[in-house]
Amino acid sequence: MTTELYGTENPRAHIIYPKIARPEELMAKLKIAAFYLGVVVFWLIVASIYRGFGRSWIIPAVSVMWIAGAVTAFVARNDEENTTRETRWVILGFLGFLLIYRSILPFIVPLSSAQMAAALDINIPAVSGAAIAGMLQSVLLLASVLTPVGFLIWCGQKIRQFHGRRSRQAVFERVKGVKRAMRGDDQ
């Protein structure tokens, strides 16, 4: 009976899952939903803090990250759970960096060149104040552009790896089929 049931091609077809979710399962699902909701709200808050930059760059960039994660999870089905988890953590980290950067800046920027020169005990020209402002802007642009780009590259390599694995599996199946045919038990 057991071999009759489980010796078939697809053992999953005979497995029955419980229809009603247990409390801990329901709690886990609610936690996941709350996490996603929290990330989306955090996304909107950070974008509104950054005003024009948020509207013109942070919302599109994070949208592209969500879409890339969804496409990767849809295409590379064997690893969809890890893809979703990594997507939400990368987005949360990206937004967290932007928020921390924005909240630390007001403490650093008011320091004058003379104060910095005294703190570092080196000669800093007065014009370096403008250079610092430019550097802060560059850091923001680099971090906010390179993080989504890096994430897209990661998604791309994941999809590529999945296709490679699938084609390798197809080759194995073909070789097995040839061997079966040579043995004469080809069905």
């Binding site: 399962e25 996603y36 509207r55 969500w66 999870a73 979703t84």
Partner: protein, 61 residues
Amino acid sequence: MTISEILQSVLVFHVNAFYGLIFFFQANFFLLLGLPAAVYLAWVEIRAKSVLSADDKRRVT
């Protein structure tokens, strides 16, 4: 306050909220693309969670 006044205020409130949403999504157009993707990801993870926590010792993966 009559019933028609209450209905009118409810109508005005909802039309206002509706136009507010439209203007919001017009200003942040990419949200319309990003939010469904986020919902899809949440759905995938919730679905995976329900399979993993099913109380079935015979699960073969």
